[in-house]
Symmetry: C2
Subunit: 474 residues, 2 copies
Amino acid sequence: MDLTHSTQEALDRIRATVGTAGWIEGEARAPYLREWRGLFQGRAAAVVAPASTGEVSAVMALCHQAGIGVVPQSGNTGLCGGAAPDASGTQIILSLRRMRQIRDVDVTNDTLTAEAGCILADVQHAATDADRLFPLSLAAEGSCMLGGNLGTNAGGTNVLRYGNARDLCLGLEVVLADGRVWNGLSGLRKDNSRYDLKDLFIGSEGTLGIITAAVLRLYPRPRQVQTALLALPSPEATVALLPALREAGGDTLTACELMSRTSLTMALKHVPGCRDPFDAPHPWYLLVELSTPQAGDALRDALQACLEREMEQDRVVDGVVAESLDQAQALWRLRESIPEGQTREGASIKHDVSVAVSRIPAFLAEATARVEAALPGVRVCPFGHIGDGNIHFNLSQPEGANPDAFRAQWDDCNRVVHDVVAAMGGSIAAEHGVGQLKVAELERLKDPVELALMRQIKAALDPTGIMNPGKVVR
Amino acid sequence: MDLTHSTQEALDRIRATVGTAGWIEGEARAPYLREWRGLFQGRAAAVVAPASTGEVSAVMALCHQAGIGVVPQSGNTGLCGGAAPDASGTQIILSLRRMRQIRDVDVTNDTLTAEAGCILADVQHAATDADRLFPLSLAAEGSCMLGGNLGTNAGGTNVLRYGNARDLCLGLEVVLADGRVWNGLSGLRKDNSRYDLKDLFIGSEGTLGIITAAVLRLYPRPRQVQTALLALPSPEATVALLPALREAGGDTLTACELMSRTSLTMALKHVPGCRDPFDAPHPWYLLVELSTPQAGDALRDALQACLEREMEQDRVVDGVVAESLDQAQALWRLRESIPEGQTREGASIKHDVSVAVSRIPAFLAEATARVEAALPGVRVCPFGHIGDGNIHFNLSQPEGANPDAFRAQWDDCNRVVHDVVAAMGGSIAAEHGVGQLKVAELERLKDPVELALMRQIKAALDPTGIMNPGKVVR
């Protein structure tokens, strides 16, 4: 690592800015440099953790002057390497984890203002303490942080009803590439007095600025929750069921998670506590959740009546409705254990893609045929958020095959699946972001006008190219 | 109007591009140049109405080369002069009204793709024909067009449940300043493969590009609708009632419209068919609508139980629940007739502002006190979308005063009200946009960092400054 004199001088001033508590050295740096799946390994000229927006601003101003690349990082749980530095050792990691204050809760306005280093579960708890719901929910919620959730526009299991992270955010505080601070911490539900700057920063993965705080939307807490697992003959039947569920549940339809038998089998086989509620296997399953802040038990009646109708007409093969919170959790456990089950089954190659909901059956058929032809013996384990058109089209290695040999086909396999997605007008980065993992694939597949637009915006907001270099667009 | 030779040459080529049907001349130009309230009067070097995205693209490329300013216009119903050219006579009006095709309806994906010149009501009808709801609804829906709705991120009466225009749009087709076409017509609900370009164009009022088509979200049609008018003692009581309504109605709470007695009086006095459903006058009224695609009559029971509880505890003074569609329409007629009632009562000065919902009572008290001090005898007639924090803080002239003398105080009065809004962290352009009407006020009140950010983005996407010059930001 060969730092110029001016870089070293800037680092010294950054160190003075953040103080001892904000300057991470030696072994303590390891967790910031480690990407949890081991897919990305970088080096850093420094790891700093400012304690306030003012400190972030001062650090950015110094980096801007010295031309030092900055990799913002919060929970470091991302799946696409967006929070990992490159191998040059010239970039710094700017961790938001010391900025973890809940600044304000306004129950009348149904908003909560929190800093980027708040753990998602802590934000959820703060909402619960105020008798409200913050609906963003995803597997990493115990360790992921708000900054990363917003930086990647995280999805999760409640998108169907509540939207992605951007829909749950009303305003932001952002430190810009040159250290200026944009205070857009508005709790307004209607504001047409500006370009939509908030949504430009959300999902930009730190390439346009650093999100330091956000105003989040709160919702009434559900008082009725009904959870069911349905067995279905095909993806076609599942897609056809959605309108019936929407009519039965109205706006209470909160989650619709599709699982293939193969993916469920791996959870059942490897994860303790997973139990198949049906006597026989079925090719496809749909986990359905309805919830409402209204009191009473109307939801259960509506769901059961709907399922009876659908089963009478053979559109649903079998179904169980949870009788208790424990039973509901057991059903969710099946869905949530799929990634772990897959990991224990051997190597896997993953895709986080979306298409129009109407195209899901065609996508599953086409993509499955293509990868089975390309990788004989591969086990296709799709699951995901069918109501949002978002499928985690994951592939497990052939039984008994060499894991490394399978993993070596990652890029080739990605191209096969992404070509199918692109031909259907879908997205190859549905809810996990682009990071560094998908930059080249986007360059290969995206409309050149769209890439040019992204580069124009990047150049306008980060003219010296120091904001998370090499991520999203380059 | 003194056009240079190169401008004239460009206009000739534009004329050849759009053909006779797209080149508006002589008297036929009048409706494009007329702003319906007479607040803005401009001139134009040409009025053109391309028939396709390709023609819009060709026109923009020619304007870009020749440096001709372009004012996009669709329904020309805006309230802030965003679709009116300046007085120089050097700009052209580009009307989208010939682009009025519904390109696609996908009921399984719950999306509809329509061109910018579609009248909003026609889009609503196309959704209804497919047994779906397109929820955007506002006073001008019979003549306003989709392009303007998205360009201004229109609000309306269903925002509480369904969001603003941006929330109802999944993707756009946009012609850029230099004529390139961005095809972002995605019907995807999850796509993190790009910066959020869609939302950058939505609400930018044609200053960054011209929206030519959009993919819109459809919803299930409501099967139960319950409408009630409540009489309340104060704005405080109204704001306090919202959580109770949300608990009773859950996600079915679709509209919450606040009306002051003064504003209602003007509707009752001047607009035929308006009738006060109560025996005695009350200081404040709340029009509430609940709706759901679920069948049955649970909604009526929930609403009536909630109102009984609130009336028992004297939080609601009186209330009527509509017994029929006719009665529901009669209640809505009261709300919708307020602007006409106000117009017939004499001159008015208008404000389209928003604050956090929790601040509405303080805003109403403070703003009322300030304008009554500044304009003795003024009649304050606030009404609006209280669930969104959006108040149309409108002022009617003192009885018997000279209308022109009152109107002459528009700017001074705006400043008084906007100062109160700004001090409360609110927006002076909540749902009607900025246009040319509010550009100077935004420059006076906005954070300089935010203005600078907007200018950076404007310069990046419209480097020669030909896109709707002088609107939103300059």
